[in-house]
Amino acid sequence: MAGNGTTARRDATLGHTCLTYDDPADFDTAARAFLAAGHAAGQQTWYVGNGKPQGWEFTPEVLAVAAHYPAGSVIDPEAGLAAYAEATDRARAEGYTGLCVAADATALVRTPAQLEAFARYEFLVDRYMRDHPFTAMCAFDRGELGADVTTELACAHPDSQAPFRLYADRPDRSGAALAGELDADTLTWFEHTLQRCDLAPAGGELRLDGSALTFIDHQSLLSLDRYARGLGATAVLRTPFASARRMAELLELTAVRVKDMS
Protein backbone atom coordinates (compact mmCIF):
# COMPACT_ATOMS: atom_id res chain seq x y z
CA MET A 1 0.00 0.00 0.00
CA ALA A 2 1.63 3.16 -1.16
CA GLY A 3 -0.64 5.69 0.45
CA ASN A 4 -3.69 7.54 -0.70
CA GLY A 5 -3.60 8.58 -4.33
CA THR A 6 -5.77 11.56 -3.66
CA THR A 7 -3.34 12.94 -1.10
CA ALA A 8 -2.08 15.32 -3.70
CA ARG A 9 -5.53 16.02 -5.09
CA ARG A 10 -8.18 16.12 -2.40
CA ASP A 11 -10.60 17.77 -4.76
CA ALA A 12 -13.32 16.81 -7.21
CA THR A 13 -10.79 15.93 -9.89
CA LEU A 14 -9.67 12.87 -7.87
CA GLY A 15 -6.34 13.41 -9.57
CA HIS A 16 -7.62 12.20 -12.94
CA THR A 17 -8.38 14.90 -15.45
CA CYS A 18 -9.28 14.75 -19.12
CA LEU A 19 -8.39 17.61 -21.42
CA THR A 20 -9.91 17.89 -24.86
CA TYR A 21 -8.02 20.47 -26.86
CA ASP A 22 -8.30 22.17 -30.22
CA ASP A 23 -5.03 24.05 -30.05
CA PRO A 24 -1.90 22.08 -29.05
CA ALA A 25 -0.80 25.13 -27.06
CA ASP A 26 -3.76 24.49 -24.77
CA PHE A 27 -2.24 21.14 -23.87
CA ASP A 28 1.00 22.75 -22.77
CA THR A 29 -0.85 25.37 -20.72
CA ALA A 30 -3.00 22.78 -18.96
CA ALA A 31 -0.07 20.36 -18.51
CA ARG A 32 1.96 23.06 -16.89
CA ALA A 33 -0.77 23.83 -14.35
CA PHE A 34 -1.52 20.16 -13.70
CA LEU A 35 2.11 19.18 -13.23
CA ALA A 36 2.82 22.27 -11.12
CA ALA A 37 0.23 21.04 -8.63
CA GLY A 38 1.88 17.62 -8.59
CA HIS A 39 5.29 19.18 -8.19
CA ALA A 40 4.03 21.29 -5.29
CA ALA A 41 2.74 18.11 -3.66
CA GLY A 42 6.14 16.49 -3.96
CA GLN A 43 5.32 14.19 -6.88
CA GLN A 44 7.68 13.35 -9.66
CA THR A 45 6.33 14.96 -12.83
CA TRP A 46 6.25 13.55 -16.34
CA TYR A 47 5.40 15.48 -19.47
CA VAL A 48 4.40 13.15 -22.34
CA GLY A 49 3.73 15.39 -25.30
CA ASN A 50 5.00 16.85 -28.52
CA GLY A 51 6.11 20.20 -27.12
CA LYS A 52 9.13 21.24 -25.13
CA PRO A 53 8.32 22.68 -21.75
CA GLN A 54 10.41 25.80 -21.38
CA GLY A 55 10.48 28.53 -18.79
CA TRP A 56 8.51 26.48 -16.30
CA GLU A 57 9.26 27.01 -12.63
CA PHE A 58 10.02 23.29 -12.32
CA THR A 59 11.55 20.74 -14.66
CA PRO A 60 9.45 17.70 -15.51
CA GLU A 61 10.74 14.53 -17.08
CA VAL A 62 10.03 14.96 -20.79
CA LEU A 63 9.01 11.94 -22.82
CA ALA A 64 8.27 12.22 -26.52
CA VAL A 65 4.82 10.87 -27.41
CA ALA A 66 6.22 8.76 -30.24
CA ALA A 67 8.63 7.04 -27.88
CA HIS A 68 6.16 6.53 -25.05
CA TYR A 69 3.18 5.56 -27.20
CA PRO A 70 4.44 4.01 -30.48
CA ALA A 71 2.30 5.02 -33.46
CA GLY A 72 -0.57 2.65 -34.13
CA SER A 73 -0.06 0.61 -30.98
CA VAL A 74 -3.03 -0.74 -29.10
CA ILE A 75 -2.47 -0.39 -25.39
CA ASP A 76 -2.53 -3.49 -23.24
CA PRO A 77 -4.54 -2.13 -20.31
CA GLU A 78 -2.97 -4.35 -17.64
CA ALA A 79 0.56 -3.81 -18.94
CA GLY A 80 -0.02 -0.08 -19.26
CA LEU A 81 -1.17 0.15 -15.68
CA ALA A 82 1.68 -2.06 -14.46
CA ALA A 83 4.18 0.29 -16.08
CA TYR A 84 2.76 3.33 -14.32
CA ALA A 85 2.46 1.43 -11.03
CA GLU A 86 6.12 0.51 -11.28
CA ALA A 87 7.02 4.11 -12.14
CA THR A 88 5.00 5.33 -9.16
CA ASP A 89 6.80 2.91 -6.84
CA ARG A 90 10.12 4.00 -8.29
CA ALA A 91 9.28 7.67 -7.76
CA ARG A 92 8.45 6.94 -4.14
CA ALA A 93 11.67 4.99 -3.74
CA GLU A 94 13.49 8.08 -5.00
CA GLY A 95 11.87 10.20 -2.33
CA TYR A 96 8.93 11.66 -4.21
CA THR A 97 5.43 11.44 -2.80
CA GLY A 98 4.23 9.86 -6.02
CA LEU A 99 3.96 10.34 -9.75
CA CYS A 100 2.08 13.01 -11.70
CA VAL A 101 1.76 12.62 -15.46
CA ALA A 102 0.37 14.88 -18.18
CA ALA A 103 0.09 12.87 -21.39
CA ASP A 104 -1.17 13.59 -24.86
CA ALA A 105 -2.71 10.20 -25.70
CA THR A 106 -4.17 11.16 -29.09
CA ALA A 107 -1.91 8.66 -30.87
CA LEU A 108 -3.39 5.83 -28.83
CA VAL A 109 -7.05 6.27 -29.75
CA ARG A 110 -7.06 6.79 -33.52
CA THR A 111 -8.76 3.50 -34.38
CA PRO A 112 -11.80 1.81 -32.82
CA ALA A 113 -9.60 -1.00 -31.46
CA GLN A 114 -7.23 1.50 -29.90
CA LEU A 115 -10.11 3.48 -28.42
CA GLU A 116 -11.70 0.40 -26.91
CA ALA A 117 -8.51 -0.73 -25.23
CA PHE A 118 -7.57 2.73 -24.03
CA ALA A 119 -11.01 3.42 -22.53
CA ARG A 120 -10.77 0.17 -20.52
CA TYR A 121 -7.28 1.17 -19.46
CA GLU A 122 -8.66 4.48 -18.15
CA PHE A 123 -10.78 2.59 -15.63
CA LEU A 124 -7.86 0.46 -14.44
CA VAL A 125 -5.82 3.61 -13.93
CA ASP A 126 -8.72 5.37 -12.22
CA ARG A 127 -9.11 2.57 -9.66
CA TYR A 128 -5.37 2.42 -9.07
CA MET A 129 -5.39 6.16 -8.34
CA ARG A 130 -7.92 5.76 -5.55
CA ASP A 131 -5.32 4.27 -3.22
CA HIS A 132 -1.99 5.10 -4.88
CA PRO A 133 -0.19 8.44 -5.23
CA PHE A 134 -0.51 8.55 -8.99
CA THR A 135 -2.29 11.39 -10.75
CA ALA A 136 -2.74 12.01 -14.45
CA MET A 137 -4.10 14.38 -17.03
CA CYS A 138 -5.04 12.63 -20.27
CA ALA A 139 -5.27 14.91 -23.29
CA PHE A 140 -6.86 14.31 -26.68
CA ASP A 141 -6.86 16.38 -29.86
CA ARG A 142 -10.49 17.05 -30.78
CA GLY A 143 -9.62 18.38 -34.22
CA GLU A 144 -7.92 15.11 -35.12
CA LEU A 145 -10.19 12.63 -33.34
CA GLY A 146 -13.56 14.36 -33.58
CA ALA A 147 -15.81 15.43 -30.73
CA ASP A 148 -17.61 12.09 -30.61
CA VAL A 149 -14.44 10.19 -29.72
CA THR A 150 -13.03 12.80 -27.34
CA THR A 151 -16.34 13.06 -25.46
CA GLU A 152 -16.51 9.29 -25.15
CA LEU A 153 -13.07 9.33 -23.54
CA ALA A 154 -13.87 12.33 -21.35
CA CYS A 155 -16.89 10.44 -19.93
CA ALA A 156 -14.49 8.02 -18.26
CA HIS A 157 -12.74 10.64 -16.10
CA PRO A 158 -13.88 12.14 -12.81
CA ASP A 159 -12.78 15.55 -14.05
CA SER A 160 -13.76 16.57 -17.58
CA GLN A 161 -16.14 18.70 -19.57
CA ALA A 162 -18.19 15.66 -20.64
CA PRO A 163 -21.95 15.86 -20.03
CA PHE A 164 -21.68 12.87 -17.66
CA ARG A 165 -18.81 11.09 -15.94
CA LEU A 166 -18.61 7.45 -14.87
CA TYR A 167 -15.51 6.84 -12.80
CA ALA A 168 -14.01 4.86 -9.97
CA ASP A 169 -14.82 6.10 -6.52
CA ARG A 170 -13.00 3.21 -4.87
CA PRO A 171 -10.09 0.93 -5.69
CA ASP A 172 -12.23 -2.17 -6.21
CA ARG A 173 -14.72 -3.04 -8.95
CA SER A 174 -17.85 -3.23 -6.80
CA GLY A 175 -19.10 0.19 -7.76
CA ALA A 176 -18.46 3.53 -9.37
CA ALA A 177 -19.56 7.14 -9.30
CA LEU A 178 -21.92 8.66 -11.81
CA ALA A 179 -22.05 12.44 -12.24
CA GLY A 180 -23.60 15.00 -14.57
CA GLU A 181 -26.55 14.45 -16.89
CA LEU A 182 -27.60 11.38 -18.86
CA ASP A 183 -30.06 11.64 -21.73
CA ALA A 184 -30.71 10.49 -25.29
CA ASP A 185 -27.71 12.44 -26.56
CA THR A 186 -25.36 10.60 -24.19
CA LEU A 187 -26.95 7.16 -24.33
CA THR A 188 -24.44 5.52 -26.67
CA TRP A 189 -21.48 6.90 -24.73
CA PHE A 190 -23.10 5.73 -21.49
CA GLU A 191 -23.62 2.21 -22.78
CA HIS A 192 -20.06 1.99 -24.08
CA THR A 193 -18.63 3.41 -20.87
CA LEU A 194 -20.65 1.03 -18.71
CA GLN A 195 -19.32 -1.93 -20.64
CA ARG A 196 -15.73 -0.70 -20.36
CA CYS A 197 -15.74 0.07 -16.66
CA ASP A 198 -15.89 -3.66 -15.98
CA LEU A 199 -17.73 -3.65 -12.68
CA ALA A 200 -18.03 -6.78 -10.54
CA PRO A 201 -20.95 -7.03 -8.14
CA ALA A 202 -20.32 -7.52 -4.43
CA GLY A 203 -23.06 -9.29 -2.54
CA GLY A 204 -25.23 -9.14 -5.66
CA GLU A 205 -25.05 -5.34 -5.80
CA LEU A 206 -23.29 -2.68 -7.82
CA ARG A 207 -23.07 0.46 -5.73
CA LEU A 208 -23.34 3.64 -7.79
CA ASP A 209 -22.68 6.94 -6.09
CA GLY A 210 -24.85 9.42 -7.93
CA SER A 211 -24.44 12.28 -5.47
CA ALA A 212 -23.34 14.51 -8.35
CA LEU A 213 -25.87 13.10 -10.82
CA THR A 214 -28.29 15.88 -11.71
CA PHE A 215 -30.36 14.17 -14.40
CA ILE A 216 -30.99 10.73 -15.85
CA ASP A 217 -33.63 9.94 -18.45
CA HIS A 218 -35.68 6.79 -18.71
CA GLN A 219 -33.63 5.31 -21.56
CA SER A 220 -30.45 5.57 -19.51
CA LEU A 221 -32.19 3.94 -16.53
CA LEU A 222 -33.32 1.11 -18.78
CA SER A 223 -29.79 0.78 -20.06
CA LEU A 224 -28.42 0.59 -16.53
CA ASP A 225 -31.05 -2.01 -15.72
CA ARG A 226 -29.96 -4.16 -18.67
CA TYR A 227 -26.31 -3.81 -17.70
CA ALA A 228 -26.90 -4.80 -14.08
CA ARG A 229 -29.14 -7.70 -15.07
CA GLY A 230 -26.44 -8.91 -17.44
CA LEU A 231 -24.12 -9.15 -14.46
CA GLY A 232 -26.77 -10.91 -12.39
CA ALA A 233 -26.76 -7.93 -10.02
CA THR A 234 -28.87 -5.04 -8.78
CA ALA A 235 -27.48 -1.57 -9.38
CA VAL A 236 -28.09 0.53 -6.27
CA LEU A 237 -28.00 4.15 -7.35
CA ARG A 238 -27.93 6.83 -4.66
CA THR A 239 -28.81 10.24 -6.04
CA PRO A 240 -30.43 13.51 -4.98
CA PHE A 241 -32.27 13.54 -8.33
CA ALA A 242 -35.49 12.15 -6.87
CA SER A 243 -37.29 11.76 -10.19
CA ALA A 244 -34.93 8.85 -10.90
CA ARG A 245 -36.58 6.84 -8.16
CA ARG A 246 -40.07 7.67 -9.41
CA MET A 247 -39.12 6.70 -12.99
CA ALA A 248 -37.54 3.44 -11.84
CA GLU A 249 -40.82 2.57 -10.09
CA LEU A 250 -42.90 3.47 -13.14
CA LEU A 251 -40.67 1.40 -15.36
CA GLU A 252 -40.84 -1.48 -12.85
CA LEU A 253 -37.09 -1.94 -13.10
CA THR A 254 -35.95 -5.12 -11.44
CA ALA A 255 -32.19 -4.63 -11.60
CA VAL A 256 -31.98 -0.96 -10.58
CA ARG A 257 -32.86 0.35 -7.13
CA VAL A 258 -32.72 4.10 -6.69
CA LYS A 259 -32.10 5.50 -3.23
CA ASP A 260 -33.16 9.08 -2.77
CA MET A 261 -30.52 11.32 -1.19
CA SER A 262 -32.62 14.50 -1.18
Binding site: D217, A242, S243, M247
Partner: protein
Amino acid sequence: MRSGAATGHQGCFHEALPYSSGDELLSVVIPFLLDGVAAGEPAVVALGAEGAALVRAALPVDSGVLFLPVDAIYTRPAGAIRAYRELLGHRVARGAAQVRVAGELPRPALGRTWDWWARYEAAINHAFDDFPLWTLCAYDTRHTSAAVLADVARTHPRFILPGDRHEISAAYTEPRTFLMENRPLWPDPVQQRAPLAELTDPTPAQARQAVRAAAAGLTAEACDDLVVAVSETVTNALRYGHPPARLSVWSGDDRVLVAVTDAGEGPKDPFAGLLPHQDSAPGGRGLWITYQACDHVATVRDETGWTIRMIAGEVN
Protein backbone atom coordinates in the same frame (compact mmCIF):
# COMPACT_ATOMS: atom_id res chain seq x y z
CA MET B 1 -69.18 -16.13 -13.54
CA ARG B 2 -69.93 -12.43 -13.16
CA SER B 3 -72.98 -11.34 -11.22
CA GLY B 4 -75.48 -8.56 -11.84
CA ALA B 5 -75.93 -6.46 -14.96
CA ALA B 6 -72.51 -7.46 -16.30
CA THR B 7 -73.34 -11.15 -16.36
CA GLY B 8 -72.10 -12.56 -19.63
CA HIS B 9 -70.20 -9.39 -20.50
CA GLN B 10 -66.55 -9.72 -21.48
CA GLY B 11 -64.13 -7.10 -20.16
CA CYS B 12 -64.87 -3.67 -18.76
CA PHE B 13 -68.51 -2.83 -18.01
CA HIS B 14 -68.38 0.94 -17.69
CA GLU B 15 -71.39 2.92 -16.53
CA ALA B 16 -71.99 6.55 -15.59
CA LEU B 17 -74.12 7.42 -12.59
CA PRO B 18 -75.47 10.97 -12.73
CA TYR B 19 -77.03 11.83 -9.36
CA SER B 20 -78.48 14.95 -7.81
CA SER B 21 -78.82 13.97 -4.14
CA GLY B 22 -77.13 11.81 -1.55
CA ASP B 23 -80.16 9.54 -1.43
CA GLU B 24 -80.00 9.02 -5.18
CA LEU B 25 -76.32 8.15 -4.96
CA LEU B 26 -76.91 5.67 -2.14
CA SER B 27 -79.88 4.06 -3.87
CA VAL B 28 -77.54 2.88 -6.62
CA VAL B 29 -74.17 2.50 -4.91
CA ILE B 30 -75.23 0.54 -1.80
CA PRO B 31 -76.92 -2.36 -3.67
CA PHE B 32 -74.11 -2.28 -6.25
CA LEU B 33 -71.55 -2.86 -3.48
CA LEU B 34 -73.51 -5.27 -1.29
CA ASP B 35 -74.60 -7.44 -4.22
CA GLY B 36 -70.94 -7.70 -5.14
CA VAL B 37 -69.90 -8.70 -1.62
CA ALA B 38 -72.75 -11.27 -1.53
CA ALA B 39 -71.49 -12.75 -4.79
CA GLY B 40 -67.93 -12.96 -3.43
CA GLU B 41 -66.72 -10.18 -5.70
CA PRO B 42 -64.29 -7.50 -4.47
CA ALA B 43 -66.24 -4.25 -4.04
CA VAL B 44 -64.28 -1.02 -4.04
CA VAL B 45 -65.22 2.60 -3.31
CA ALA B 46 -63.23 5.53 -4.67
CA LEU B 47 -65.70 8.34 -4.08
CA GLY B 48 -65.00 11.88 -2.94
CA ALA B 49 -64.96 12.59 0.79
CA GLU B 50 -68.63 13.57 0.88
CA GLY B 51 -69.92 10.60 -1.07
CA ALA B 52 -67.58 8.18 0.68
CA ALA B 53 -68.84 9.35 4.08
CA LEU B 54 -72.43 8.81 3.03
CA VAL B 55 -71.71 5.35 1.71
CA ARG B 56 -69.64 4.35 4.72
CA ALA B 57 -72.45 5.39 7.04
CA ALA B 58 -75.04 3.47 5.03
CA LEU B 59 -73.08 0.22 4.82
CA PRO B 60 -73.24 -2.38 7.55
CA VAL B 61 -70.26 -2.61 9.89
CA ASP B 62 -67.53 -4.86 8.47
CA SER B 63 -69.23 -4.83 5.07
CA GLY B 64 -66.10 -6.08 3.34
CA VAL B 65 -66.06 -3.07 1.01
CA LEU B 66 -62.62 -1.57 0.30
CA PHE B 67 -62.31 2.23 0.44
CA LEU B 68 -59.50 3.77 -1.58
CA PRO B 69 -57.84 7.13 -0.84
CA VAL B 70 -59.48 8.98 -3.69
CA ASP B 71 -57.14 11.98 -3.85
CA ALA B 72 -54.15 9.68 -4.27
CA ILE B 73 -55.86 7.61 -6.97
CA TYR B 74 -57.14 10.49 -9.08
CA THR B 75 -54.07 12.72 -9.13
CA ARG B 76 -53.18 12.20 -12.78
CA PRO B 77 -55.03 10.12 -15.37
CA ALA B 78 -52.10 7.92 -16.41
CA GLY B 79 -51.35 7.26 -12.74
CA ALA B 80 -54.97 6.36 -12.04
CA ILE B 81 -54.95 3.86 -14.92
CA ARG B 82 -51.72 2.35 -13.61
CA ALA B 83 -53.03 2.13 -10.03
CA TYR B 84 -56.33 0.54 -11.08
CA ARG B 85 -54.64 -1.95 -13.38
CA GLU B 86 -52.44 -3.03 -10.50
CA LEU B 87 -55.44 -3.39 -8.18
CA LEU B 88 -57.44 -5.31 -10.78
CA GLY B 89 -54.51 -7.54 -11.60
CA HIS B 90 -54.07 -8.52 -7.96
CA ARG B 91 -57.77 -9.21 -7.42
CA VAL B 92 -58.17 -11.25 -10.59
CA ALA B 93 -54.99 -13.19 -9.83
CA ARG B 94 -56.61 -14.17 -6.53
CA GLY B 95 -59.57 -15.56 -8.42
CA ALA B 96 -62.09 -12.72 -8.54
CA ALA B 97 -64.73 -13.41 -11.19
CA GLN B 98 -65.57 -9.71 -11.23
CA VAL B 99 -64.35 -6.55 -9.47
CA ARG B 100 -66.85 -3.79 -8.73
CA VAL B 101 -65.62 -0.22 -8.40
CA ALA B 102 -67.74 2.81 -7.53
CA GLY B 103 -65.62 5.82 -8.43
CA GLU B 104 -65.97 9.56 -8.52
CA LEU B 105 -63.47 12.11 -9.75
CA PRO B 106 -62.57 14.85 -7.27
CA ARG B 107 -64.46 18.07 -7.95
CA PRO B 108 -61.42 20.02 -9.27
CA ALA B 109 -61.11 17.42 -12.05
CA LEU B 110 -64.45 18.67 -13.39
CA GLY B 111 -63.02 22.17 -13.85
CA ARG B 112 -60.50 23.35 -16.38
CA THR B 113 -58.42 20.17 -16.26
CA TRP B 114 -61.47 18.14 -17.27
CA ASP B 115 -60.06 17.63 -20.76
CA TRP B 116 -57.50 15.09 -19.62
CA TRP B 117 -59.98 13.37 -17.30
CA ALA B 118 -62.40 13.09 -20.23
CA ARG B 119 -59.58 11.36 -22.08
CA TYR B 120 -59.17 9.10 -19.05
CA GLU B 121 -62.85 8.16 -19.10
CA ALA B 122 -62.61 7.34 -22.80
CA ALA B 123 -59.33 5.43 -22.46
CA ILE B 124 -60.40 3.11 -19.65
CA ASN B 125 -62.96 1.44 -21.90
CA HIS B 126 -59.89 0.01 -23.60
CA ALA B 127 -57.34 0.16 -20.77
CA PHE B 128 -59.38 -2.02 -18.39
CA ASP B 129 -61.00 -4.21 -21.00
CA ASP B 130 -58.76 -7.17 -20.21
CA PHE B 131 -60.31 -7.33 -16.71
CA PRO B 132 -63.80 -8.42 -15.56
CA LEU B 133 -64.44 -4.95 -14.15
CA TRP B 134 -67.83 -3.42 -13.47
CA THR B 135 -67.28 0.23 -12.70
CA LEU B 136 -69.76 3.00 -12.12
CA CYS B 137 -68.59 6.59 -12.31
CA ALA B 138 -70.62 8.94 -10.18
CA TYR B 139 -71.20 12.55 -11.29
CA ASP B 140 -73.03 14.98 -9.01
CA THR B 141 -75.12 16.92 -11.51
CA ARG B 142 -75.37 19.81 -9.03
CA HIS B 143 -71.67 20.45 -9.52
CA THR B 144 -71.09 19.23 -13.07
CA SER B 145 -71.35 21.48 -16.11
CA ALA B 146 -73.41 20.59 -19.16
CA ALA B 147 -70.23 20.36 -21.23
CA VAL B 148 -68.72 17.84 -18.83
CA LEU B 149 -71.95 15.84 -18.74
CA ALA B 150 -71.92 15.77 -22.55
CA ASP B 151 -68.42 14.25 -22.43
CA VAL B 152 -69.59 11.79 -19.76
CA ALA B 153 -72.27 10.58 -22.16
CA ARG B 154 -69.70 10.24 -24.93
CA THR B 155 -67.20 8.28 -22.83
CA HIS B 156 -69.50 5.86 -20.98
CA PRO B 157 -71.23 3.14 -22.96
CA ARG B 158 -74.04 2.96 -20.42
CA PHE B 159 -75.80 4.77 -17.60
CA ILE B 160 -76.77 3.09 -14.33
CA LEU B 161 -79.88 4.56 -12.75
CA PRO B 162 -81.89 3.99 -9.57
CA GLY B 163 -84.04 0.87 -9.65
CA ASP B 164 -81.30 -1.27 -11.21
CA ARG B 165 -81.89 0.31 -14.59
CA HIS B 166 -79.15 0.26 -17.20
CA GLU B 167 -79.46 2.40 -20.31
CA ILE B 168 -77.27 2.53 -23.39
CA SER B 169 -75.66 5.93 -23.88
CA ALA B 170 -76.70 7.08 -27.35
CA ALA B 171 -73.83 9.56 -27.48
CA TYR B 172 -71.15 6.97 -26.68
CA THR B 173 -68.15 7.39 -28.97
CA GLU B 174 -65.51 4.79 -29.65
CA PRO B 175 -62.46 5.62 -27.49
CA ARG B 176 -60.10 5.78 -30.45
CA THR B 177 -62.35 8.30 -32.17
CA PHE B 178 -62.84 10.37 -29.03
CA LEU B 179 -59.14 10.40 -28.19
CA MET B 180 -58.03 11.43 -31.67
CA GLU B 181 -60.41 14.41 -31.73
CA ASN B 182 -58.57 17.71 -31.75
CA ARG B 183 -59.43 19.81 -28.71
CA PRO B 184 -58.06 23.33 -28.39
CA LEU B 185 -55.86 23.90 -25.35
CA TRP B 186 -57.66 25.83 -22.65
CA PRO B 187 -56.18 29.30 -22.56
CA ASP B 188 -53.95 29.88 -19.56
CA PRO B 189 -53.49 33.55 -18.65
CA VAL B 190 -49.83 32.86 -17.88
CA GLN B 191 -49.32 32.41 -21.62
CA GLN B 192 -50.37 36.02 -22.13
CA ARG B 193 -47.04 36.97 -20.58
CA ALA B 194 -43.83 37.01 -22.58
CA PRO B 195 -42.17 33.59 -22.54
CA LEU B 196 -39.08 33.36 -20.36
CA ALA B 197 -37.43 31.23 -23.02
CA GLU B 198 -38.05 30.39 -26.66
CA LEU B 199 -35.69 27.92 -28.27
CA THR B 200 -35.65 26.28 -31.69
CA ASP B 201 -34.37 22.72 -31.98
CA PRO B 202 -32.92 22.74 -28.45
CA THR B 203 -30.94 19.77 -27.24
CA PRO B 204 -32.60 18.02 -24.31
CA ALA B 205 -29.90 19.54 -22.09
CA GLN B 206 -30.69 23.08 -23.31
CA ALA B 207 -34.39 22.45 -22.74
CA ARG B 208 -33.73 21.27 -19.18
CA GLN B 209 -31.66 24.35 -18.49
CA ALA B 210 -34.48 26.62 -19.71
CA VAL B 211 -36.98 24.89 -17.43
CA ARG B 212 -34.74 25.05 -14.37
CA ALA B 213 -34.20 28.77 -14.95
CA ALA B 214 -37.97 29.33 -14.89
CA ALA B 215 -38.88 27.01 -12.04
CA ALA B 216 -37.85 28.97 -8.97
CA GLY B 217 -41.45 28.97 -7.73
CA LEU B 218 -41.88 25.20 -7.88
CA THR B 219 -41.00 22.62 -5.24
CA ALA B 220 -37.81 20.71 -5.95
CA GLU B 221 -39.88 17.61 -6.71
CA ALA B 222 -42.20 19.41 -9.14
CA CYS B 223 -39.22 21.06 -10.83
CA ASP B 224 -37.34 17.77 -11.25
CA ASP B 225 -40.45 16.07 -12.62
CA LEU B 226 -41.11 18.89 -15.10
CA VAL B 227 -37.48 18.71 -16.18
CA VAL B 228 -37.98 14.99 -16.84
CA ALA B 229 -41.16 15.64 -18.81
CA VAL B 230 -39.64 18.36 -20.96
CA SER B 231 -36.46 16.40 -21.61
CA GLU B 232 -38.46 13.36 -22.73
CA THR B 233 -40.76 15.51 -24.86
CA VAL B 234 -37.94 17.35 -26.61
CA THR B 235 -36.18 14.05 -27.20
CA ASN B 236 -39.33 12.70 -28.85
CA ALA B 237 -39.81 15.87 -30.92
CA LEU B 238 -36.25 15.71 -32.25
CA ARG B 239 -36.36 11.98 -32.86
CA TYR B 240 -39.89 11.34 -34.09
CA GLY B 241 -41.34 14.76 -34.94
CA HIS B 242 -40.68 16.98 -37.93
CA PRO B 243 -38.34 19.95 -37.62
CA PRO B 244 -38.29 22.54 -36.37
CA ALA B 245 -38.97 21.70 -32.73
CA ARG B 246 -39.82 24.81 -30.76
CA LEU B 247 -39.80 25.15 -26.99
CA SER B 248 -41.51 27.94 -25.05
CA VAL B 249 -41.42 28.37 -21.28
CA TRP B 250 -43.70 30.61 -19.23
CA SER B 251 -43.55 31.20 -15.51
CA GLY B 252 -46.57 32.21 -13.44
CA ASP B 253 -46.87 32.93 -9.76
CA ASP B 254 -47.75 29.36 -8.89
CA ARG B 255 -47.02 27.33 -11.99
CA VAL B 256 -44.70 26.85 -14.96
CA LEU B 257 -45.96 26.09 -18.46
CA VAL B 258 -43.85 24.55 -21.20
CA ALA B 259 -45.01 24.04 -24.78
CA VAL B 260 -43.13 21.95 -27.32
CA THR B 261 -44.25 22.14 -30.95
CA ASP B 262 -42.91 20.25 -33.92
CA ALA B 263 -44.11 20.34 -37.50
CA GLY B 264 -45.29 16.74 -37.49
CA GLU B 265 -48.69 15.25 -36.75
CA GLY B 266 -47.95 13.86 -33.30
CA PRO B 267 -48.37 10.29 -32.10
CA LYS B 268 -50.68 8.03 -34.06
CA ASP B 269 -51.53 5.92 -31.01
CA PRO B 270 -54.75 7.34 -29.53
CA PHE B 271 -53.79 6.08 -26.08
CA ALA B 272 -50.33 7.70 -26.16
CA GLY B 273 -49.48 9.13 -22.77
CA LEU B 274 -52.30 7.38 -20.97
CA LEU B 275 -51.15 3.80 -21.25
CA PRO B 276 -47.70 2.28 -20.80
CA HIS B 277 -45.71 2.24 -23.98
CA GLN B 278 -46.58 -0.16 -26.69
CA ASP B 279 -43.62 -1.51 -28.57
CA SER B 280 -45.04 -0.27 -31.84
CA ALA B 281 -45.46 3.29 -30.58
CA PRO B 282 -42.31 5.38 -31.03
CA GLY B 283 -41.60 7.56 -28.03
CA GLY B 284 -44.57 6.10 -26.19
CA ARG B 285 -42.76 5.36 -22.96
CA GLY B 286 -41.35 8.89 -22.68
CA LEU B 287 -44.79 10.37 -23.29
CA TRP B 288 -46.34 8.07 -20.67
CA ILE B 289 -43.74 9.23 -18.13
CA THR B 290 -44.44 12.84 -19.12
CA TYR B 291 -48.15 12.39 -18.36
CA GLN B 292 -47.26 11.19 -14.87
CA ALA B 293 -44.68 13.87 -14.18
CA CYS B 294 -46.87 16.95 -14.75
CA ASP B 295 -49.96 18.43 -13.15
CA HIS B 296 -51.58 18.81 -16.53
CA VAL B 297 -50.71 17.74 -20.05
CA ALA B 298 -52.66 18.57 -23.20
CA THR B 299 -51.93 18.22 -26.88
CA VAL B 300 -53.31 19.86 -30.00
CA ARG B 301 -52.78 19.74 -33.75
CA ASP B 302 -53.02 22.89 -35.82
CA GLU B 303 -51.52 24.40 -38.97
CA THR B 304 -48.13 24.76 -37.25
CA GLY B 305 -47.91 21.11 -36.29
CA TRP B 306 -48.36 19.22 -33.04
CA THR B 307 -48.05 20.91 -29.66
CA ILE B 308 -47.79 19.35 -26.25
CA ARG B 309 -48.27 21.69 -23.30
CA MET B 310 -47.07 20.67 -19.85
CA ILE B 311 -47.93 22.43 -16.60
CA ALA B 312 -46.31 21.97 -13.20
CA GLY B 313 -47.77 23.66 -10.14
CA GLU B 314 -51.26 24.82 -9.32
CA VAL B 315 -53.62 24.13 -12.19
CA ASN B 316 -57.05 24.27 -10.60
